[in-house]
Symmetry: C2
Subunit: 316 residues, 2 copies
């Protein structure tokens, strides 16, 4: 059975549901960066979102739409990162249990965050197989509902609310760019942007070293990444059938960027804007840096996906 | 001749003059930090100010109040840091020259910033004597007006506008804390806070390793620091006769903090609030961390002085 594809009305509904629980994050600009690049950039700062990432939007929407019987048994997921923290806090705010399967190798800051939000962590090997098997065991034991990080209707609708807010604040953007990992943010962003504006250009930005979305997009078939290796640790995952389908229909192009440009973009934001962003968040700005001619004089909205950088392992 | 002491009306006037040129910076809070410390903290984010520091307020006020004959010849100062960048940009915005005397040992990021704002830099040894001598030579040659980083009426008035904005946004603060270096920010903050509120408590926060303000305050005589050594590089300077007099009259107490608490406070802000602040800016939060009992349940305003941290030399 094909998965249900969200439409903009689903994102509007998600926004109504999650609004009391999320931050409406600010949109920031930097005269310095704008004049360096010759572009008018508007950064939607989801690094200031609860748990430090846009993931809280989708997780909250998913948790709030559970039936009360489902909710009682809690939620579960496998994630090494922000989705785990987001689901844990969203569950705690409803007083329901969260079970997180996480590889031992996950960054310390993210383990700490998940523990801090009161979730029960089960550690596993870092292969996808180990994660899925462990998650299955956890679900069998607890009856918890699996909330996939991006292959999930309600999660995608929640993530789309960031672009909705951005375009409410700045309706005249020419371009919107989001980073692409598993494609949840990209899917929600593209549905919202295409519905709100008549002809906006919606780009995905992806590390060249984890370019499954770009290759899938160009070849028209889903091609998962094999051993992706990028500093943008939030973008290691590959598209799912659901997010691929949405992206294929709504995104105008996927731009890939080099690792060194990601680091330079991240540093540019820290130095010039004085905000902490994680490497994955720097990928859309890296796309602008590598393709200035494409954006010359344009008003470009960028979704800053999160701020959970590991301060003990900075790339500069 | 005694220096003229600013009153609140001078700060109001400064605010009218500089308003078109400065950012009205946001006041941020963190539920995480508040619940950890049991305090209600309101951070006035001058790290988002132009040039990344409150210093732009004072420098702009000083430059804008020059006569046109003075302005033509430009401005000069000796500074290793944010005041140099601030004066350079304030001068450039008026199309007048800025001459900066700077020790070779100044952080790379600050040299780069000053050069970027088009100032003419003269490097010197890092002793105060070398700086003053070099500055004198520069002034003789150019006829530029010396704008002292803090021993200057207009500079102090400009710095006071940050606290004015903070108390306009949050009129019911119980306490206001600013970091103390040369005392320009502290002077302006204390004059503004005491004028706006009937009985606010105004604290200065200072590194134990550069505690001239605390010792001067407690002993009633000006005692400059001897070889101060702190990570809070913006607070190495000692009070001047002018700032000491203002602080003596308007500040309720000076709290000193340990180096490791400054680093912990800085990291807490980066991790929890996702904003980049320089070590000096973390000193007021360090004062709260070391003296939680003093602030229990209180609404405390903190001036975050700047965000020009050297990303190549972070303390964590």
């Amino acid at each position: 059975m094909a998965d249900k594809i969200p439409v903009y009305e689903d994102i509007i509904k998600a926004h109504q549901i999650i609004r009391p629980y999320i931050h409406r994050t600010p949109v920031l600009s930097s005269t310095g960066i704008n004049s360096m690049l010759g572009v008018d950039l508007y950064f939607k700062c989801e690094n200031f979102q609860k748990v430090g990432a846009f993931k809280f939007r989708g997780a909250t929407n998913a948790v709030r739409q559970l039936s009360s019987a489902e909710a009682k048994k809690g939620v579960a997921t496998h994630s090494s990162g922000n989705h785990a923290a987001a689901l844990s806090l969203a569950a705690r705010q409803m007083n329901i249990p969260a079970y997180i399967v996480m590889p031992e190798s996950a960054p310390a800051i993210k383990k700490k965050a998940v523990k801090g939000y009161g979730a029960e962590i089960t550690f596993c090997e870092s292969t996808l197989e180990a994660r899925e098997k462990t998650l299955e065991e956890v679900q069998k034991k607890t009856g918890a509902t699996f909330i996939h990080p991006y292959h999930n209707f309600n999660v995608i609708c929640g993530q789309g609310t960031a672009a909705k807010e951005l375009l409410e604040d700045y309706p005249d953007l020419d371009v919107v760019i989001a980073p692409v990992g598993g494609g949840g943010l990209m899917s929600g962003t593209s549905i919202a942007a295409k519905a709100i504006k008549k002809e906006p250009v919606v780009f995905g930005a992806e590390p060249l070293n984890a370019d499954d979305a770009c290759r899938s997009f160009n070849q028209g078939v889903l091609i998962p990444s094999v051993r992706p290796d990028t500093i943008a640790d939030g973008l290691l995952t590959s598209l799912s059938s659901l997010t691929f389908q949405i992206i294929k229909e709504n995104v105008d192009d996927i731009i890939t960027v080099k690792e060194e440009t990601i680091v330079a973009a991240m540093r540019m934001v820290w130095e010039r804007m004085k905000i902490v962003i994680e490497p994955s968040s720097a990928v859309p700005l890296a796309a602008v840096i590598e393709n200035k001619y494409k954006f010359d004089g344009k008003k470009v909205g960028i979704i800053i996906s999160g701020g959970n950088a590991d301060l003990d392992h900075l790339p500069f």
